[in-house]
């Protein structure tokens, strides 16, 4: 029996508040990143909810308060260093503050994590150009090659063209010309909650329709709005798993669990991934965790138990 995209996050109810997204424990799951847990303050560093910090960074960017934006974005990258969106916002914020070295570092990280992301290459190109670094040319070349491969009619054509011209303007500043915007692709970051909602809803529908590539693109847009969010990350992991890319799926589950260690959906799906990879012992660890966090039992634990018993997807065995 086929199965719908399961509730990645039923256990981790979330709440969008006026100021952003806040976690709330639901059904024994969810929860904020681990806090001090009773340690002395000197023995623990502050922990941040990356979704909230991301929202703070976006709000600060909107107010052109780049220093605060960079500080909040730095908190995001501290918690989820493998998530490119945090580095993206940090790159934008530092560029806005004319901290081009900081922007270069952020975009270098982003390029490493998302090598095919045009925004990352454009941001890096812009930072390098402002630092008079000749490596900016390589980024410009990458963007032009991408634009050429894309052609005039592809969905990203206009965006790639804008990126290329922005980087080239920074490389060859005309006397008296205004400096190019440090923001680059504002539409992604500033699409707002409605745009993020729409992208998220679209992604769920696309996943259910098994249109995984389009779903990932939609999830990317949602994440650009909401930042590293365990629900979105879990869906990304689920989608990559469905595409058969277990390594990427695992990376997303790990990111989700780094943010919300007791995220029921991410724990279940990570366990299922482990079963799919033949790591039954690892899956049992996930199951034990679910049994611990699901007081009074939960369907997620039972589903993972069925996976373990069947040695794979129980609907197929």
């Amino acid at each position: 029996m086929k199965r719908v995209l399961s509730a990645a996050v039923v256990g981790a109810s979330l709440t969008v508040l006026a100021g952003g997204i806040a976690f709330a424990s639901g059904g024994g799951g969810g929860g904020t990143p681990a806090g001090g847990g009773g340690n002395m303050p000197s023995a623990s560093s502050p922990s941040y909810d990356p979704s909230i910090e991301y929202a703070k960074a976006i709000a600060a960017l909107k107010a052109n308060n780049y220093k605060d934006a960079a500080r909040a974005a730095g908190h995001v990258t501290d918690v989820v260093p493998k998530n490119p969106d945090g580095w993206h916002v940090l790159g934008v914020a530092t560029a806005g503050a004319n901290d081009w070295k900081g922007s270069r570092r952020a975009y270098e990280k982003m390029v490493k994590l998302a090598p095919d992301d045009a925004t990352a290459h454009a941001g890096l190109g812009l930072a390098l150009a402002n630092l008079k670094d000749k490596k900016a040319q390589a980024e410009d070349d990458w963007l032009k090659a991408k634009a050429q491969a894309c052609g005039d009619s592809c969905p990203d054509a206009a965006r790639l063209k804008e990126f290329t011209s922005t980087v080239e303007a920074a490389m060859n500043p005309a006397a008296g010309a205004p400096k190019p915007s440090a923001m680059l692709d504002r539409s992604l970051l500033f699409g707002g909650a409605k745009a993020g909602d729409a992208a998220y809803e679209l992604a769920v529908g696309l996943i259910n329709d098994r249109r995984y590539d389009e779903a990932l693109a939609a999830l990317g847009k949602a994440q650009a709005t909401f930042g590293p969010h365990p629900d979105i990350l879990t869906y990304e992991g689920y989608t990559w798993r469905k595409k058969g890319d277990y390594a990427r799926a695992e990376a997303y589950y790990q990111q989700a669990l780094a943010i919300a260690p007791n995220h029921i959906g991410a724990t279940e799906y990570y366990g299922e991934l482990k079963v799919a990879k033949g790591d039954i012992a690892g899956a049992r660890v996930m199951l034990a965790k679910l049994d611990r966090i699901c007081a009074f039992g939960c369907a997620d634990a039972e589903e993972l138990r069925r996976w373990i018993d069947a040695g794979g997807d129980p609907q197929k065995h």
Partner: protein
């Protein structure tokens, strides 16, 4: 009117799937994450909390003289009351048969955002709950009263026709993407539904929702589990224990106040013992029946401890109303 399915944004939010879809302005759902009672997620805005959350319809169960049939009915009754019977989104949201069919009746207060039209309706041919039966149309239907006149129900419940069993099987595995039920569970559900009869309805239409009711449900589920163990059917027994745990969970969420930490701890300890029994059953280990018996023997003491503090919990109508006021705008 465009009857194509609206995107299930509200439903996703209610499931906790996509609270992202909530915006600052969506106050009705904006604080779902801290809902004190899970059932608040599917109670219609504006519903009377005392009725919807503080009371339940009385059950119209015709108890048979035949002990074997009575045992089958008890298996079905317990399965009817646990989300673990179902799968997919519904199970993960905590929904079970009894969510919509309160004590085997209808549920006029049920309103699942994105799935319901008017209160008391649900669109079960929706991709949110089912990968099989999505018809792409927003067509919520009234939830039928399973204890109403049999002639008014969709499926012929005549035992000789055997139409009810495949219907219920389809509900579990297709409409709600659940796992294959054991034969005893499927048989028990059909027996339970057949035993819901209008002539068996008590004179009093509703009764308060109490610790005693839920503890009684838990005990009955565990006794059904013992019967299944004796029959060598550990798989069904696991579900019976899951049902008991679900009922304890409904007590637990009403005992969240700090002042109730001690009885809540007792409740959770009792749940852990049931979890251990489930593990034994899962591994076909010995002694599960005796462990259930021990649990049952200790349960009156637990119930007394809980009942003594019930007035400080959300079983108390005034406290419930206060909590619902925060949670059920409308």
């Amino acid at each position: 009117m465009d009857r194509r399915r609206r995107r299930p944004a509200e439903a996703l939010a209610a499931l906790g799937l996509a609270s992202l879809v909530l915006t600052a302005g969506a106050t009705a759902l904006a604080a779902l994450g801290d809902a004190p009672l899970r059932a608040m997620l599917w109670v219609a805005p504006g519903a009377d909390p005392a009725r919807a959350l503080g009371s339940v319809p009385t059950e119209c169960l015709k108890r048979p003289a035949d002990p074997a049939l009575a045992a089958r009915i008890e298996v079905g009754r317990a399965a009817f009351r646990t989300q673990v019977l179902l799968g997919g989104q519904a199970a993960r949201a905590g929904i079970n048969c009894e969510t919509c069919h309160r004590d085997g009746r209808a549920n006029p207060d049920f309103h699942f955002p994105g799935l319901s039209g008017p209160p008391g309706t649900a669109d079960v041919t929706n991709s949110l709950f089912s990968t099989h039966r999505d018809n792409g149309i927003d067509d919520p239907k009234p939830i039928p009263d399973l204890s109403g006149a049999k002639a008014r129900l969709k499926v012929d419940q005549d035992l000789a026709q055997r139409k009810l069993e495949p219907f219920i099987h389809g509900l579990i595995t297709e409409e709600f993407d659940g796992p294959e039920p054991t034969p005893a569970v499927l048989d028990g559900l059909a027996a339970y539904v057949r035993a819901l009869r209008p002539e068996a309805c008590p004179a009093q239409a509703r009764e308060p929702f109490t610790v005693a009711l839920l503890m009684a449900d838990a005990r009955r589920a565990l006794q059904a589990g013992q019967e299944r163990i004796r029959a060598g059917d550990d798989a069904s027994a696991v579900l019976m224990v899951a049902s008991a745990r679900s009922r304890l969970g409904l007590i637990d969420e009403r005992f969240a106040a700090p002042a109730l930490a001690a009885p809540r701890a007792s409740l959770r300890a009792a749940d852990r013992r049931l979890e251990a029994i489930q593990a034994v059953l899962h591994d076909h280990g010995p002694d599960a029946e005796r462990q259930i018996a021990a649990w049952l023997a200790a349960s009156p003491r637990l119930e007394a401890e809980l009942a003594a503090r019930q007035g400080l919990s959300l079983f108390d109508p005034a406290r419930l109303a206060q909590a619902a006021k925060r949670r059920l705008p409308g």
